[in-house]
């Protein structure tokens, strides 16, 4: 199981774009939590992924307009 923390500006559709990067790969969400964090928003995703997908996902998220930071939780 892999945990990701993604900070984003809560503009229209940004959370959905973050999620479609996962769903387009046919992956299931184990857990999704999205909360305001000061002036940012943060979504925490728990996913079953293999290493190649992790790199691809992080690249897709980073290329999304209004995504501010992408981290993987230990």
């Amino acid at each position: 199981m892999n945990r990701f923390l993604i900070d984003y500006r809560n503009s229209q559709g940004t959370l959905m774009r973050i999620l479609t990067a996962v769903s387009r790969r046919g992956m299931d969400f184990q857990e999704v939590t999205a909360l305001a964090q000061g002036d940012r928003h943060q979504v925490r995703l728990v996913l079953e992924t293999h290493p190649k997908q992790i790199a691809q996902l992080c690249r897709d998220w980073r290329a999304t307009v209004d995504v501010l930071e992408v981290r993987q939780e230990a």
């Binding site: 229209q12 559709g13 774009r17 479609t20 691809q56 690249r59 290329a63 307009v65 501010l68 930071e69």
Partner: protein, 576 residues
């Protein structure tokens, strides 16, 4: 653009605001199709200073806007009504995303109070485009309209360009407000604002020093950055073998002694062999998709990859451990050139000379085989085209023949749907190119299948008397699929037969377009009819729309071919 003007402003409707914002962005032409939700927009069109081109299908509008954008580097604009109008734009949006084309799509939406009720012609187009548009907005009120439009143009054109969608409810178009002229958009910082990292001269130098078979691969990023002249100067000094993706065609001079031609599924034998054998691959503005790499796990197996790229999401797609040079090629190519005197150079002269000699021989040959009549015909056509002409190719065998034979040196001179591979692209895209570049000789090369996918745009071409030269390579098959069926499905030509095609010459004539047919002639040396030259001369010189049907053998194939899923080294060179 000036900063926001704070003085009092006349009241404007949302519709008038849209046109004013488009003008402020320098838009002169838009492509669209009206319907209930955008009537207010069309009502305010007159006097806007913007030329609206009515296509005959919204997909045609999106592709035409793409043609406009791809041939100029400027933003294309397409307009459609809510519901079916909006969904008809989707293929164009997906195409623009795949090929990095700056495109602003404006759709009407049902009025705000009806949104979410499954109202007549209500579709969540904002939601539908989430996975394929670079960005989008459903506009909630007239106040946010100017900023949304300004932001849309900025995002479509910045970084790696792409399509954006603005969905505007009809009541927002009808509302009225005193709004300032929008000021310059100031983008907020984001994760992909990468700054200007230092050029990795030392690492590159070490890699070059130890390379025995270094090669350069050029993609669309070069032309998107407008860096083709800097590229050519750099390549002349580097003097290493260099090949091109389909979207990079025209960036490298086809006369350059180090040019290996196109690489990938239907690339040259030399380019693909060199890519398989290389130990150092310098990728300049290409995302290394699977049509270029073949099986990505077996692509350039011995190579270190140095990847010059603007979009971090495209790095390390093939394998980890690339040396990344992030940024616009407009910056990084000059940095490379400036560093060159300090870089060690590979010792590979004998190998390079042999490879380049093989490429010269291959590019100079017509390849023989079943495709010969089509190849000879395209060679004659391209040789007669003016240097600044534009070829717009559809999708299929004719597209790959055209890409293989294209020798012009203009990076925006070969336009095609590469990443999405959308049949029906070429005819509307060509009309968009012709409107953007009225003086240019624009040749649309289509198959008999793809031509029928947006055939209705003949009416648009005729209305504006656009001198587009439309060539249909008519093999009476969905040729590229038939080729796969022949090679990999035991000649089971299931549902690819088009032998009952309509009479395209009669169709052209019905639209008022001068139309002509040529067929292969077995009695001549070349296999082309004796009058080919004079027909082509007339075709290319005409100042009115022209349609030319070239009937070629039905079972001609495109070679070389790397079968889907195979490595580049496993390319097929001719019929089994």
């Amino acid at each position: 653009m000036e900063n926001a003007n704070t003085a009092a402003h006349p009241a404007r409707t949302g519709a008038a605001t849209v046109w004013a914002c488009l003008r402020a962005e320098g838009v002169d032409t838009v492509f669209g199709y009206p319907g209930g939700a955008v009537i207010p927009l069309y009502d305010a069109l007159e006097g806007s200073g913007i030329r609206h081109i009515l296509t005959r299908h919204e997909q045609g509008a999106a592709f035409a806007a793409e043609g406009y954008a791809r041939s100029t580097g400027r933003c294309g604009v397409a307009i459609a009504t809510s519901g079916p109008g909006a969904t008809n734009l989707l293929t164009g949006i997906a195409d623009a995303k795949m090929d990095s084309v700056p495109l602003v799509c404006i759709t009407g939406q049902v009025r705000t109070s009806l949104i979410g009720t499954d109202a007549f012609q209500e579709i969540d187009i904002f939601g539908a485009t989430l996975p394929m548009a670079k960005w989008g907005r459903l506009v909630r009120n007239i106040q946010e309209l100017p900023d949304v439009l300004r932001q849309a143009f900025h995002i479509a054109q910045s970084g790696r360009p792409g399509p954006v969608l603005i969905d505007i409810p009809v009541d927002v178009l009808k509302a009225s407000a005193e709004l300032p002229v929008p000021g310059r958009y100031q983008p907020p910082a984001t994760a992909h604002d990468i700054g200007a990292p230092a050029f990795p001269a030392e690492q590159l130098s070490a890699l070059l020093a130890s390379a025995k078979k270094p090669v350069v691969l050029v993609g669309a990023g070069v032309k998107l950055a407008g860096a083709q002249l800097e590229l050519r100067r750099l390549l002349d000094r580097l003097d290493l073998p260099a090949c091109s993706t389909v979207h990079g065609l025209g960036c490298i001079s086809s006369e350059a002694p180090y040019y290996l031609g196109m690489c990938g599924m239907h690339g040259t034998r030399t380019a693909n062999t060199v890519l398989h054998e290389t130990d150092l691959l310098l990728v300049l503005g290409a995302r290394l998709d699977d049509r270029v790499t073949g099986d990505p796990t077996r692509f350039a197996p011995d190579a270190r990859i140095v990847h010059f790229e603007i979009d971090p999401s495209q790095l390390e797609r093939v394998r980890a451990g690339e040396l990344a040079v992030l940024g616009s090629l407009a910056d990084t190519i000059p940095q490379f050139a400036a560093a060159l005197p300090r870089l060690q150079r590979p010792d590979c002269r004998a190998w390079r000379d042999a490879v380049c000699a093989a490429a010269r021989e291959e590019l100079g040959s017509d390849g023989g085989g079943t495709a010969l009549p089509a190849i000879r015909f395209l060679d004659e056509l391209f040789a007669m085209m003016p240097a600044e002409g534009v070829v717009v190719a559809d999708v299929g065998q004719h597209q790959m023949w055209a890409a293989q034979r294209y020798r012009a040196n203009n990076p925006r001179g070969f336009i095609t749907s590469g990443g999405l591979g959308a049949m029906g692209f070429a005819l509307p895209a060509a009309l968009g190119v012709q409107l953007a570049r009225p003086e240019a000789c624009v040749v649309c090369v289509s198959g008999d299948g793809g031509f029928q996918m947006n055939i209705q745009e003949l009416a648009t071409i005729k209305r504006f008397n656009l001198p587009v030269k439309i060539l249909i390579v008519d093999n009476k098959f969905l040729g590229m699929v038939r080729q796969w069926q022949q090679l990999f499905y035991d000649r089971n030509y299931a549902e690819t037969d088009l032998s009952d095609n309509p009479d395209f010459v009669a169709i052209g004539a019905a639209y008022g377009i001068q139309s002509e047919r040529l067929a292969v002639d077995a009695t001549t040396v070349t296999g082309l009819p004796a009058r080919t030259g004079s027909v082509l001369r007339h075709f290319l010189d005409a100042t009115t729309p022209q349609l030319l049907v070239f009937e070629c053998p039905p079972e001609a194939n495109v070679f070389p071919m790397v079968p889907s899923g195979a490595a580049l080294s496993e390319m097929l060179l001719e019929e089994a």
